[in-house]
């Protein structure tokens, strides 16, 4: 069989083979409807298409970076929250997000989606790197401020269709000392199965302070809540008696009159991957 034919599985009316030939032949010609400046995007093809489906477009890959120092000798001895480390962490994230927002508005974006968050806590500094794609409504006007969101473009589309909008990256971090046991207590407990309440309590204290920082940062941005919260906790390799807790997510606000129910359709896949058989039945 030769000649163009509709591709099985493709939407009706689309001949993928003809499209491919047309696309390949187009390389020898000037670009069709070329943008005035090159566009860069770290979104997948699916994400770009989803953004287009709600009338948004990608503009540029944007970055934010910040290194903030932690004063010496704060990790080893003490009690309660290690405030200078918590401050350093929160300042680094806030500063990196500001850099990211500034790059976004510089290219005419209304916000940054799919922000990839990388954080490194070291003895003397906290290093935060943010990378995402600046987006805006097609032919949207420039704005003076931009939202920063770690939601994927897919989640951003769902949120948009539900009547909500991201307002920023909510972030909270807290570092707390886990007080050392007395030498006598350590000796007595060395052969027992016991809960180390100093660590448990430190984790709870860090959790409460970190979550509070995060929620306060969301309220400061005028958000009603936070979605897709992620948490990380545990000791640092250089500070065995300190517990760190970080939480972050996208602060959101209802833009529509009320929440728009998405009413998902129920799908029953026919490619059942969990069909099993009992080996006994073969006997």
């Amino acid at each position: 069989m030769s000649g163009p034919r509709p591709t099985p599985g493709a939407p009706s009316g689309i001949d993928l083979r003809a499209e491919m030939r047309q696309a390949a032949a187009s390389l020898g010609k000037p670009a069709h409807d070329a943008p005035s400046r090159a566009v860069t995007s770290d979104l997948s093809v699916d994400e770009s298409l989803l953004l287009h489906s709600i009338g948004w477009e990608a503009l540029d890959v944007v970055f934010g970076a910040s290194l903030v120092s932690v004063p010496p000798f704060v990790w080893t001895w003490g009690s309660g929250e290690i405030t200078s480390a918590s401050e350093a962490h929160n300042l680094a994230v806030r500063s990196a997000a500001q850099h990211l927002g500034a790059q976004c508005t510089a290219v005419g974006g209304h916000g940054v989606v799919g922000v990839h968050v990388e954080i490194e806590v070291q003895r003397h500094h906290v290093d935060v790197e943010l990378t995402g794609t600046a987006v805006r409504p097609v032919k949207g006007k420039d704005r003076s401020s931009a939202f920063v969101s770690d939601l994927s473009a897919r989640d951003f589309t769902l949120l948009h269709n539900a009547g909500w909008a991201p307002v920023g990256l909510a972030f909270g971090a807290s570092f707390v000392y886990a007080p050392r046991r007395s030498a006598g207590a350590a000796m007595r407990q060395s052969s027992q199965n016991v809960e180390l309440t100093n660590f448990t309590e430190a984790m709870y204290a860090a959790r409460e302070a970190g979550m509070e920082h995060m929620q306060r940062s969301a309220l400061d941005m005028g958000a009603q809540g936070i979605v897709a919260v992620r948490v990380a906790e545990g000791p640092m390799w250089f500070a065995n008696h300190a517990i760190g807790f970080t939480a972050w997510g996208t602060a959101v606000r209802l833009e529509a009159q009320s929440h728009q129910y998405l009413r998902p359709e129920v799908v029953l896949p026919l490619d059942d991957a969990v069909v099993e058989f009992a080996a006994q039945s073969l006997r």
Binding site: M1, P4, T7, P8, A10, I14, L16, R17, E19, M20, R21, Q22, A23, A24, A25, S26, L27, G28, A31, H32, D33, A34, P35, A38, V39, T40, S41, D42, S44, V45, L49, S53, I54, V61, F63, G64, A65, S66, L67, V68, S69, V70, P71, P72, E87, A88, L91, S95, H124, H125, T131, T157, N161, L262, R263, P264, E265, V266, V267, A273
Partner: protein
């Protein structure tokens, strides 16, 4: 549908395969490409999807380049990073990133080791060497694809790795050369290339974009820390004997700016290769080599597929949310 392997779909070895005459393709590669069977790096779903859209695999094509770095050798016009005074009294060449930082403490008052001056600067010689290595491997891949009469190369994968303990890096790029069925041959045209394959490539074309080429670049920024950066990063007091106190929680401005500069530079390098096209699926990989006393080398690699719009975008219907009963 013609069988994969021959640009014209006929059986047996192709008649018009350029075996490398006039090129630097190895003779063995020419013999292998003439064998008549096809090879492909595509997964089975990608293979099936590409056949559906009229792309026929011809050969798994590859390009290699092994580069030895000469960053710190003598004779470079930039002194190759041997000193923060690399650019000399005239400053950085036009278009090259460079920022200087001066001690706010009154110079040598505190100790002989007090770093009264620091600089962030781009290392164009590193970037050019990387671009040469990647570019050579890429051009060899494209050359192989052209030799088998392919229109394009899909599913490109590239990697770089250091060889042993030597100051040597290997660049390796591979992909599947394909022919667009029933398409007119493009004499002299360079095969197009893309990191995409399968359904992702089909969706891209359906959305009105055609891949042009894979694009990659590297930026390199060297940080020579000044006293403030050193104290903040190392937790050191202002003077050798602990006088002057320790720095409080503060942003390390020199390093923050260097990290931002490295990322912005690599984006501009890539943008310079795009013309008015779009970079799709950008992937950035940053590597920070922490030296000592706050000194760093920051390298960022950015890669993606350059795509060009060939028709008006057909808006998709709004996505339908679904729940899977699994």
């Amino acid at each position: 549908m013609p069988a994969p392997g021959r640009p014209d779909g006929a059986d047996g070895p192709p008649d018009a395969v350029d075996t490398g005459t006039g090129t630097d393709l190895p003779e063995a590669a020419g013999r292998r490409l003439e064998s008549g069977s096809f090879s492909s790096g595509l997964t089975v779903p990608d293979f099936a999807a590409c056949l559906q859209m009229g792309l026929r695999p011809v050969a798994l094509v590859q390009g290699f380049c092994v580069m030895q770095w000469g960053w710190y050798g003598a004779g470079s016009p930039y002194s190759r990073g041997l000193s923060p005074y690399a650019f000399g009294s005239g400053g950085a060449p036009r278009g090259v990133y460079s920022e200087s930082y001066s001690c706010p403490h009154g110079g040598m008052v505190y100790s002989n080791e007090h770093r009264i001056w620091g600089q962030n600067y781009q290392q164009p010689w590193v970037e050019e060497a990387w671009a040469e290595g990647f570019g050579s491997a890429y051009s060899r891949l494209v050359e192989e694809a052209g030799a088998v009469g392919a229109h394009g190369v899909i599913g490109v994968v590239d990697s770089t790795r250091h060889l042993a303990d030597m100051n040597v890096t290997e660049f390796h790029i591979l992909g599947t050369a394909v022919v667009v069925e029933d398409a007119a041959p493009a004499p002299g045209a360079t095969p197009w290339t893309t990191y995409l394959a399968g359904q992702r490539l089909a969706k891209l074309v359906e959305a009105g974009y055609m891949p042009v080429s894979v694009v990659a670049a590297l930026s390199s920024v060297r940080v020579w820390a000044y006293c403030v950066t050193e104290m903040l990063m190392e937790g050191r007091p202002l003077s050798t004997f602990g006088g002057g106190g320790y720095m409080p929680v503060a942003e390390v401005e020199q390093l923050s700016r260097a990290h931002l500069a490295a990322r912005s530079l690599v984006r501009e390098h890539v943008r310079g290769k795009l013309g008015h096209d779009t970079l799709q699926g950008a992937l950035i990989v940053a590597n920070t080599q922490r030296l000592a006393q706050g000194d760093e080398v920051i390298e960022c690699a950015l890669r993606g597929t350059r795509v060009r719009r060939f028709k008006d975008f057909d808006p998709l219907p709004p996505p339908r949310p679904t729940v899977r009963l699994t």
